[in-house]
């Protein structure tokens, strides 16, 4: 699934990485627990989370995750966006809940990791 399709499905605002929207991701993972994200072996995935802080970006950086969707209408602050930009990430912000966002993407064909 292209990131721009994900953005469209989730009615999401693109706050960083508008130039990455043609990139493909195969799988999605939803978690507010960064400890769990750090245990994943997969990397070509989009992370859906309501954990909106600098460590969410850091976690994605270490786990080679290139795209994050912040759900529940939460907004990334400037230091987060700066770090995301430095790492070439795409940041989306969706007004939907984590459950709804995950459900819509699953329905649209995004695969789960497990």
């Amino acid at each position: 699934m292209k990131l721009k399709e994900i953005a469209a499905v989730l009615n999401a605002n693109i706050s960083c990485g508008a130039d990455k929207l043609d990139e493909e991701v195969e799988m999605g993972y939803s978690s507010d627990l960064m400890s769990d994200v750090l245990t994943l072996d997969t990397d070509n995935l989009v992370l859906l989370t309501g954990m909106v802080n600098l460590q969410a970006i850091r976690t994605a950086e270490m786990a080679d995750i290139r795209a994050i969707v912040f759900v529940r209408n939460k907004k990334a602050n400037q230091p987060m966006l700066d770090l995301a930009k430095e790492n070439g990430m795409c940041i989306l912000e969706s007004p939907y809940s984590l459950f709804k966002s995950s459900g819509l993407l699953f329905q649209a064909g995004l695969k789960p990791i497990y």
Binding site: M34, S35, L38, T39, M51, N53, L54, Q55, R58, D64
Partner: protein, 147 residues
């Protein structure tokens, strides 16, 4: 790579960590990642290393007062020493069990403290050694070989 001249290079990096400072947690891991990329180490190995280091950093920030990260890279491996001044770990075997956590509410609110840190460091390293003295601090040594 190791020929008659022995080691081709040794690269050393040193960082300091402040307990409680979640804003800067991950900076050492980020810098190490950049260096390993420049050295053309394969992506999977880099990911293992930086995830283990990041977990170690978060542990220091979450539990200790201050710490240091000493990194030594040569052509065959990376050795990382994370030493902290902190409360120490009374029972290392127990701390290694998945799900065991003594993290504060504040740490959990940051998305960590699920008791996965040490097991995940073990999973992502070729060698992991932990030494700890209650009331003084903890030293973690991690080695990853380059394939």
């Amino acid at each position: 790579m190791e020929g008659v001249w022995g080691r081709l290079f040794i690269l050393k990096l040193i960082f300091s960590i402040q307990g409680g400072d979640f804003t800067h947690a991950g900076h050492p891991s980020s810098e190490v990642k950049k260096v390993l990329k420049q050295l053309d180490i394969d992506g999977k190995t880099i990911k293992n290393i930086v995830i283990a280091l990041y977990e170690a950093e978060v542990n220091v920030v979450a539990h200790a007062w201050r710490g240091t990260v000493d990194v030594e890279i040569d052509e065959s491996k990376i050795t990382i020493l994370v030493s902290d001044e902190g409360p120490g770990i009374p029972d290392i075997e127990q701390a290694m069990q998945a799900g065991f956590s003594t993290a504060s509410k504040q740490v959990r609110e940051m998305g960590f403290g699920a008791g996965m840190g040490l097991p995940n460091m073990k999973k992502n390293t070729d060698e992991l050694y932990i030494e700890s003295e209650v009331g003084k601090g903890t030293t973690v040594k991690m080695v990853n070989n380059f394939s």
